[in-house]
Amino acid sequence: MTVRTAQEALAQRPLRFLASSWPWRSLAYLFSGVLLGAVTLAVLSVLVSTGLILALGLVGLLLFVPIALSGMVVARFERWRLRLVDIEPALDPHRPPQRPGHRAWLVTRLREQATWRELGYAVVSALALWWIDLAVIFLALYLPVVGMAAPFYLPDLLTALAAVVVGVLLLPISAYPITAWAGARAALTRAVLAPRDAELGERLVEVSASRARLVDAFEVERRRIERDLHDGAQQRLVALTMTLGLARLDLPPESAAADQVGAAHEQAKAALAELRELIRGIHPKVLADRGLPAAVGDVAGRSPVPVEVDIVLPSRLPPPVELTAYFVVCEGLANIAKHSAASRARVRGRLVEDLLVVEVHDDGVGGAEPSAGSGLAGLADRVAVVDGRLFLSSPVGGATQLRVEIPCAQIGSSG
């Protein structure tokens, strides 16, 4: 297991811990903490006392803005320093200002909880934490240093040598309290200065919103391809079959030309049928026009295994949700037809709160495997894109149940 923090390093076997860089990193962390804390205390003292004096003339009140924001500077150093004892970087919890300009920036910062948390941390750090850093360093290193420095103050060489040996032996032990406090302080720092779930949450929402936009873009693209094929190739093929059909009327039957034109006619019709299937696979028109129940009803009608459809929805759902659920049902029914040896199947769909739940059951032989190239893995990916989940129960020799759950709330109904 990779060690990611000073606290985790402590749990390692002693030799391994002592040979690692963690004690030294912890020591550096505490030393820099002392430095930062002392500077913070000095600067805050100056700011606050100047502010208090000037406050008599009201001008000093302006100084409380830099005081309020000073926590941000301290926090930035603290987060940067944190990497010494915590490999995972702590992110900046501040939001970007909603409008450009210094004023908007200031308003955003002063309204944020994070700014005040950072100020609180800076105050506690200046008043207490760096003193504790100092105390821990002092207490942990006092005996080893005193021992190792013995030759400088002990006249007796033998006693001094013994003191040095004791000091060196105590040194590894002092690594423990130093690392322990460094780890505890790092945990405290992360808890206060790293973004809270809510602050992180906003970013996550933004990420999934952009993913939803991508899904919408795919959806729009599929519609465009479908429309292009429909308006272009399909119409031309229909016109072609019509022309060939008329040509057949003019040719003497049983002639060589009639045979050739007849063959061309049949081929054009076959191409038209194939193109129709292709277009339906790209973007099912009934789904777009009439919604999931109608589209699934039509797919069920084409299945060689009898399918009972029971889908009741209060209204149309967002297009990406409908499309995903539709493809799950198509794939499920196709698998049933190919592999299940089932005698009947059932598709059930309901909206539970904001969750679309669609289940495809069969009474077949089971044994469907997502990994066996059955298209189920790809289907799961497709479902994941709309934040949905796909469940499969297919015991060998038993009935197969495919269940998909897709949330309908977050995804915009555009597209």
């Binding site: 229909v238 008329l246 129709r276 339906r280």
Partner: protein, 219 residues
């Protein structure tokens, strides 16, 4: 190749190539195209103006390229239940066909894939049947309806299933007999047998029988 009865046809199809092709084809078979338009609104206006014998329309047309043609056809039949309408579609899906069949009690409607235009004689024959108040459903759509294989259908013999499919396409006993190369009496016998198996009421009238069969298939 003159038709028995010259029809006055209104065509709505947004693809120029196809629209012109259809006009040429219908002229060739002796029908008169009184209006050929490219969108659903113009179709409704053309019907008002020309009162055609039959409307032939595409499903998908401007402005939304969704199902404007089908909706216009259904709307037209709501005000003119006797107006025959033949819808040409690129979609096998029976959803569209079912909506059309439900309009004006299913008399004088047709739902055909555009593929069928290529079989020009059959296409013109279907047009005439719809104009005469018959019901024509594309064989591909019928195949899909039969594909549902609900229990009563499993009781039919293969021959009876063939007859049922042709009935659902709107063919008369004589046409079914020609197609299956059997006597008309044999067809009548199969029909009687399959109607009994499916618990459908016997009907003398071809058209009412077709509607019963379709209603059964759509379940």
């Amino acid at each position: 190749m003159r038709a028995d009865r010259q029809l006055r046809v209104a065509i709505a199809e947004d693809a120029v190539l196809l629209r012109e092709g259809l006009v040429g084809l219908l002229h060739r078979f002796g029908h008169a195209v009184v209006a050929s338009v490219a969108d659903a609104e113009s179709l409704v206006a053309a019907v008002e103006q020309h009162e055609p014998d039959i409307v032939v329309t595409d499903v998908r047309m401007p402005p939304g390229f969704s199902d404007e043609g089908l909706r216009a056809a259904i709307a037209l039949r709501a005000t003119r239940p006797a107006l025959p309408v033949l819808v040409l579609s690129q979609y096998v899906e029976q959803t569209y066909a079912a909506e059309l069949l439900d309009s004006g009690r299913g008399a004088g409607v047709g739902y055909l894939l555009k593929d069928r235009i290529g079989d020009v004689e059959e296409f013109v024959d279907a047009l005439a049947r719809v104009a005469a108040g018959g019901t024509v459903v594309d064989p591909e759509v019928v195949r899909q309806l039969l594909g549902r294989r609900r229990d009563p259908l499993l009781r039919l013999t293969p021959r009876e299933r063939e007859v049922l499919a042709l009935m659902a396409e709107g063919r008369s006993n004589a046409a079914i007999a020609r197609r299956l190369v059997v006597s008309e009496a044999a067809v009548a016998k199969h029909i009687g047998s399959l109607l009994t198996k499916l618990d459908l009421p016997p009907a003398e009238d071809d058209h009412r029988r077709v509607l019963a069969v379709l209603a059964f298939l759509r379940g």
